[in-house]
Amino acid sequence: MASPPPASTGLPPALSDATRDETSLRRFLHGLPGVDQVGVEQRAAGLATRSIKKAAKLWAIDTAIGMVDLTTLEGADTDGKVRSLCAKARRPDPDRAEVPPVAAVCVYPDMVATAVEALRGTGIGVASVATAFPSGRSSVPVKIADTELAVAAGATEVDMVIDRGAFLSGRYGRVFDEIVTVKHACGDAHLKVILETGELATYDNVRRASWLAMLAGADFIKTSTGKISPAATLPVTHVMLQAVRDWHTATGDRVGVKPAGGIRTTKDAIRYLVAVHEVAGEEWLTPEKFRFGASSLLNDLLMQRRAQLDGHYSGPDYVTVD
């Protein structure tokens, strides 16, 4: 590691010590307590059985809508598609003005300008994936250029991917430096660090990657790109929520969490909200600290919302197809 990164300033001595060089970083990350796999899976499954009904369900649905990062990350994206997605982000259910707008729209860097234009004055964020998303297989200058492209176009949030190859082969310093560099390139934009937990193999690795990202200055840690399976799962999100809670205990800062990929139903979303409340705490139940990376989830939330209010089941004919 070349120089002491700016992110580590203001950290408690134990943590700033960890970022001094590659050896101490490894020592710190491998010194983290191991994750009890059976325990975390049982706890996640146990919380998932909570029954949320009626008024509480309605509250949860509205809260979840406000936390959605409405995402389109397809090779076939066009300006028109991004604009229609932005229209949906502003007013998710055209029939009901009281439905809150979503938190942000998430697009590829070249679509940021279109999204910024379409969302001007709404307060809805524009998130852009960057750093050779989704694989992260490119050189650092290219990744920086990718980030700068997004930020220059007006992105308020940047979703970067970590170099999983480097992480898995134990070159933590390289991953750390990359996050610090991208964070620097982000300027004022919030940085979300995608761990791609589906490729990290173990919960211990998820915990290490979470801490590594937070040490390097991440504003958010995000489970996955949504391009590989498994994407977000409840136990993985549990481990990450524990990490941000422990980080808050250690530093006083609150880092956000964003599960992404595979969350398609209201039932799933509510399970995540329960986990957030129980594992991290109530302070995380805001769009500033918790997001859903999703595209089809929003339609299901809207259908469930209508079912709650109308007293009968709604159908996909009554929501926009995106």
Binding site: H312, Y313, G315, P316, D317
Partner: protein, 288 residues
């Protein structure tokens, strides 16, 4: 040797090609015409209705998109399997409806014949109900019948097999997918039919069969926004008007019930095929 204990069966629902228990965990005893115990049937809840509609919607694209010829072949194959279960159907209908052996046999034969009859209509109905319309201009104008979509069927309460086949077969023959609420007190032939369908070539979700209280399930089916049509044949008479009103809320096509159940043994016509078809008319410029 001790006397053998009979195995009391507890049946399940048929949704999306699978046999789930009711989400509610409930079941209810099915009794024969004299009040003796026959079996337990699952008592579906509104959430089972919801799951069944989701399954039917998912299956609609594939089933309605299949060629009419192919649908016919698939339905013929079902008739073959029905034939193989003939004895079981005879036993179940005669126990449930209290019909004697001969009448029960005749009923099952009629049901199988009815199925074959509707299977034959799959690739002919378009020629009967469709048209090449005469127009005064350089255009072709075609009218073609298309399936309505997901159809909620309240199966006849009295005629548990022949009646069921007479309402179910025409709906799926034209390419609709269905959610059937079986006869409340005589559900066993419907359950056996679901076992037949599960082993046939009919894709999962095309037919979904729920057992339970018709009065409990019908309102949810009638108000569900993703159901396109409703067949009220087996609806309790006191509820028909309210169900129709509720169905109007989401502009469903409704097939009204007569006050008394029709005579199912009468020769069928194509009115039930026509009931769940929409006519699409296409104008097409003629080549020069």
């Amino acid at each position: 040797m001790s006397e053998r204990l009979t195995v009391a069966k507890t049946y399940k629902l048929y949704v999306g090609g699978k046999f789930p228990r009711s989400e509610s965990g409930r079941s209810y005893p099915v009794r024969d015409a004299k009040g003796g115990f026959l079996a337990n049937a699952a008592q579906a809840s509104r959430k089972d209705v919801r799951e069944a509609v989701v399954a039917a919607r998912k299956a609609f694209g594939g089933w309605s998109g299949a060629t009419a010829y192919n649908r016919g072949q698939v339905l013929y194959r079902v008739a073959e399997l029905l034939e193989g279960r003939r004895e079981q159907f005879v036993a179940e209908t005669s126990a449930g409806e209290g019909a004697n052996g001969k009448r029960a046999q005749a009923g099952v034969d009629a049901a199988i014949d009815r199925w074959v009859w509707y299977a034959g209509w799959t690739d002919k109905i378009a020629t009967v109900l469709g048209a090449a319309n005469p127009v005064a201009g350089p255009y072709f104008s075609f009218s073609v019948p298309e399936p309505t979509g997901v159809v909620g069927v309240l199966a006849p309460q009295a005629s548990s097999l022949l009646g069921l086949v007479s309402v179910l077969a025409p709906a799926i023959a034209t390419g609709n997918t269905v959610v059937v609420v079986a006869s409340q007190d005589r559900p066993l032939p419907a359950i056996t039919l679901s076992e037949v369908l599960a082993t046939s070539d009919v894709p999962g979700g095309v037919v979904n069969i729920l057992t339970g209280r018709t009065a409990e399930l019908a309102p949810w089916l009638a108000s569900h926004a993703d159901v396109n049509a409703l067949d009220l044949t087996g609806a309790p008479e006191s509820m028909s008007a309210e169900l129709e009103r509720s169905a109007a809320g989401t502009v469903k096509r409704v097939l009204r019930a007569r006050p008394t159940e029709p005579d199912w043994t009468a020769p069928p016509d194509i009115s039930r095929l026509r009931a769940f078809l929409e006519t699409k008319t296409v104008w097409h410029p003629k080549g020069t």
